[in-house]
Amino acid sequence: MGRRATPEVNAGSMADIAFLLLIFFLVTTTIEKDKGIARQLPPRQDEQPPIDIKEKNIFVVTVNKENQILADNDLMNIEDIREAAITFLDNGGDGSCAYCKGKRDLASSDNPDKAIITVKSDRETSYKTYIQIQNELVAAYNFLRDRESQRLFGFKFTKVKSAIATGDYKGNEEKAQVKLKQIQALFPMKLSEAEAKKSQ
């Protein structure tokens, strides 16, 4: 008996099988993209030294359980929070802030460095409203930081920051980091969160 050549496997249906698998993975794929608002909680301290903060330097945002917002003693819609926060931060009341473009209202904040924003929420406030407020407040800071970085360095703070985070930044990263720090120092994010109140 002579050797017989083994018959070739018919690979015609290979493409069909591969397509089937491909479609399965296409359907099940969820490219997860976790993004969010980062915060640092205040560490536990036994004794907190009393801090003297002038009332005009605090911007209080209060949310009740009906999700109504009171900002700086005015009933406000969520759409207006950003503008109000920008006005408050950019005020520069005591004239020590050369780069502020606000009204220099004596009854509002002295300096962005001293300005503090506090969010007080009720225990029954919805998380959606809470995040919307946080988002608007971060947006206010980002707006001011963008403006200053545009003026000083000619780039947008938020754009460069996200470019560095994703690794897409072209140019000297370390130098850019120093610049970002500088901008951050001009408008330091001072957001404090009071504990949620029990609703009556």
Partner: protein
């Protein structure tokens, strides 16, 4: 002169599909590599609130806490009150400490000190529940948190 005669009945030759499997396999491998199969089985509703002023989360150093109302199929058993989930099971606020330290040990040792807690909270949840979680996190000294949100913004400017 037959050299210059046009061939009669010039049917179009069939497109060669021999390399089709290769192309499809290439796509297949791409999707297999990028696919992340969901690790945790969701026991709570997860409709995340929208925000656009966001930062990216570093995956390798994060621990997730889910919170929200129980999913519709678990509501008969567990009611509609907001609940906390870590890993694959519901967690009580008092056993949060244990569940979190357990989740932390799954990270690589070098990064365990820099852990970031990702809070995936449903938008209908009360802030009170979140507040309890945050108080516990402060006790545990895990102070870096990130509120995971969906892209977009409902607030019109």
């Amino acid at each position: 002169m037959s050299k210059f005669n046009k061939k009669k009945g010039g049917e179009l030759p069939a497109v060669n599909t021999a390399s089709l499997p290769d192309i499809v396999f290439m796509l297949l491998f791409f999707f297999m590599v990028v696919t992340v199969l969901r690790k945790d089985n969701m026991l709570v509703q997860q409709k995340l609130p929208k925000a656009d002023q966001v930062e990216k989360l570093k995956k390798d150093r994060s621990v997730f806490i889910y919170a929200g109302k129980p999913s519709s199929r678990y509501q008969e058993k567990f009611g509609t009150e907001g609940k906390i989930q870590i890993g694959d099971k519901y967690t009580d606020i008092n056993s949060l400490e244990f569940a979190l330290s357990e989740a932390r040990t799954k990270l690589i040792p070098e990064l365990q000190g820099k852990v970031v807690v990702g809070l995936k909270v449903d938008e209908d949840t009360n802030v009170g529940l979140l507040q309890d979680v945050k108080e516990k996190l402060r006790d545990l000294n895990m102070v870096k948190i990130i509120y995971i949100t969906a892209p977009g913004n409902d607030v019109k400017q």
